[in-house]
Symmetry: C2
Subunit: 470 residues, 2 copies
């Protein structure tokens, strides 16, 4: 604790500036946990004359506020993700939260039902964006951009039944990296897998695996198993649920709801058992049924090349060719992938979380062309980091370890034990601020010294300047 | 330019790591301007079978994409704003993009018409947030938080007629800092003015002035001028337009549209000429008419104290007591303020922009209580930085000076003059990435050396590693 009279103020400000540069990192050291703000639900009356006499103060279903504690964790994780995107030459882009409704139609298949529409208040019909991929494709087409590596961090909205336990919200943050342009096969695709590995390794979430497949292999498999072509996307949507429900349930949906012959479903059931490395690719080249599909062979050829490149990148052991991977969205045309955490490290007090996929993506060569009057295509491949799930895992882990974070970065607190020192405190703190020092005081004319010191302690402020008269 | 064979790769990666740490700042040095992406409007057909045979690829009215160039400028400005908020002990908060519709009703007066509603798709009735203040008040009430210094950077949406020339959009970013809690008078209010000064000075936007008034003085003035009490808010809304239209037009609206007696309007017209420093406060204490209003006297008393504190903060010369300042929003209850740029520096080639206010705010002691079932109040004061206008000014200035920015931070480009070197390039770049070096290559099996070097030059990449055989 430093103590000095008002006259030597300037010298002390200079000294503090010295002491505090470079600024201390925000979250070091153990600090007292600031009480977690619980979600309270209150029944209330806005104004007596209002018709709805009772209303509940809450956020909309499936949404939530993010407390300062949560924001600190998020910002650290997002900084890490963004720095990886920048390491790979990404440029940042932003698009509006809503798009013309027609921009989003016929892009998402069955998931289109989950799109939030805005009310028609005169003018254009609008919808909240459902992902960051379609707005990116719209941007490329609108500006005739033929080549771009971009990343985008932003919120998207989906009217899903919020099973909040699993970390699913109706409003959530996405972190996307995409490479648009006509290039030699599988080089950008392999880089996308490398980026996913760097981020998941960097965040130290535990062991993970990236399942890889190709939409052409999926479609080829459907064709040789006897799925009618007009049912490809619907059956693909069902298959995409395999990470949430069992094959038995998926099979039931295919047969009972989507009218697939049961022997066709069983043939699919045989294929989706298959997963492995490059040797599985070689094996399927020889598969008497699958090799009849030209597009499946194309997909297999590209996967072989992909395995070559990920081996050069040193990440081959993280990649698993998995025939059960389908990806629900309509727009994929080539390689698809999904990263899953294999286990959370066995740590005392930590409940095992079934988090599903934490990153995913794929190739979508036709999407930009859907926005182009002449159908000119811009091939694209990209990935999306499931940061909400990652936030949930990190938050749970911090809770298990009793870790807390400082939610402010204040370096110096200006206190006084004497009365009528407000003027001096205000003069001094202004000098600190002007010198770039993060400083606070209590907004009271004559606060008690103990109250002031207690505030410092509870906020984890490392330095206190105490001023008083001679 | 560095040249080396594949065998000495590891040594070179280590050397590059040395060379490049600490990483070079992103935007130093003159680099070639990456072509500005123009907003193109295309007429198109999504799919042949679609009924709407023509559609235009565009963003919704009043919204826009933000290009990588714009994002670089924005991030620098936002970093500066946020670091000021942190210097003053702010905690970051985030709230959903939409709120229950009823949370936003009766908060904004006439401006409520500009709220975007979501379509009723079953379930709750929702609206996009109109500002960050009402969600903050809702958060405080919902979580029974009685004291908090928070900042929030996020988008808000308003269905305004977009006069895009003036930098007004229907989607725009707000940067808010608010201090909630029961404190001694005017200390947090003065800190809000200090924060505005620090940010506007720090951004070097030129000379500025912060107009200050008090809602109680406005209401007191209305009362002593003879405005009927039920017209206070409507007349206040008209007065708020004084920065956009002349007094003559405002007076016409008051008399013709809002039914105010013309002599009442003229009395108001006399008062709103007044602006000045603390001496004006003293003068108005003696004003025979205004001093009849108890609430005006309260406001004048607080302004006197505010001038004392801003003098201690060293910013008194930036503050002007201005009776013409009204602020449109319903929820203000005490001091109100608005920062305006006085002039843009006379610079060659720069057109003078009439940007209006660049920051504003005030005290709203009743808003949190509107969400509380028992009406428990949490006094608040805060400010909002008009970052969109600031972005527009900085972008225009950069354009005038021909300044450009790098939109990527890539440090090293991996090139080769030889054929069949893809494998080596991939192996090397993975090592660079793993060492934390920002690196790129061309996604081609056998790119020409000139193409590779041209890419480096156009992207401003400072180092090239050229690999080849012996």
């Amino acid at each position: 604790m430093l103590q000095f009279g008002p006259l030597r103020r300037r010298a002390w400000v200079a000294l503090l500036s010295q002491l505090l540069r470079p600024p201390r990192p925000a979250c070091t050291g153990a600090v007292r946990c600031h009480s977690q703000v619980a979600e309270a639900v209150l029944t209330s009356q806005l104004k007596p004359h209002q018709e709805k006499s009772n209303f509940i103060i809450k956020t909309p279903k499936g949404t939530r506020d993010l407390s300062p504690q949560q924001m600190v964790v998020r910002e650290k994780i997002l900084d890490m993700v963004v720095s990886c995107f920048r390491r790979h030459g990404g440029k940042r882009l932003d698009t509006p939260a809503f798009e013309l409704k027609e921009m989003l139609t016929e892009k998402y298949g069955e998931d289109s039902l989950l799109i939030y529409d805005l009310k028609d208040q005169g003018g254009e019909l609008l919808s909240l964006r459902y992902d960051l991929t379609v707005p990116f494709a719209r941007y490329l087409a609108m500006n005739k951009v033929k080549q771009m590596k971009r990343y985008h961090v932003g919120k998207v909205w989906r009217r899903e039944s919020p099973t909040i336990v699993q970390g699913r919200y109706r409003e959530f943050c996405q972190c996307d990296f995409d490479i648009a342009g006509q290039f030699d096969p599988m080089i950008p695709d392999a880089e996308c897998l490398k980026i996913m590995c760097e981020i998941l390794s960097g965040l130290q979430l535990g062991n993970f695996l990236i399942k890889v497949n190709d939409r052409r292999i999926v479609d080829g498999m459907f064709a040789v198993c006897g799925v009618p072509e007009n049912k490809f996307r619907a059956i693909c949507s069902s298959m995409d649920k395999l990470d949430k429900i069992s094959w038995k349930e998926v099979r039931h949906e295919m047969v009972a709801k989507k009218g697939l012959a049961s022997e066709v479903a069983d043939r699919i059931g045989d294929y989706i058992q298959c997963h492995g490395g490059v040797s599985l690719v070689e094996q399927l080249f020889q598969d008497s049924r699958l090799s009849q599909s030209k597009q499946a062979l194309e997909g297999l050829g590209d996967l072989k090349l992909l395995f070559e490149y990920v081996t050069l990148f040193g990440i081959a052991e993280k990649i698993s060719f998995d025939l059960s991977l389908a990806r629900g969205l309509d727009y994929y045309t080539g390689v698809i992938y999904e990263a899953v955490l294999l286990e959370t490290p066995a740590q005392a007090g930590e409940k095992s979380l079934s988090m599903g996929s934490v990153a995913a993506g794929g190739r979508y060569d036709g999407l930009v062309g859907m926005f182009n009057p002449k159908g000119h295509k811009v091939p694209c491949v990209g990935l999306s980091i499931g940061v909400e799930r990652i936030f949930a895992i990190v938050e749970q882990r911090m809770k298990a370890f009793g870790e807390t974070v400082r939610t402010t970065e204040t370096q110096v607190f200006v206190a006084t034990p004497q009365k009528n020192f407000l003027q001096e405190r205000l003069k001094l703190i202004a000098e600190l601020w002007d010198a770039g020092i993060k400083a606070e005081l209590l907004y009271k004319n004559n606060p008690k010294l103990l109250t002031q010191l207690h505030y410092c302690e509870s906020m984890g402020i490392p330095l206190v300047v105490i001023i008083g008269g001679h």
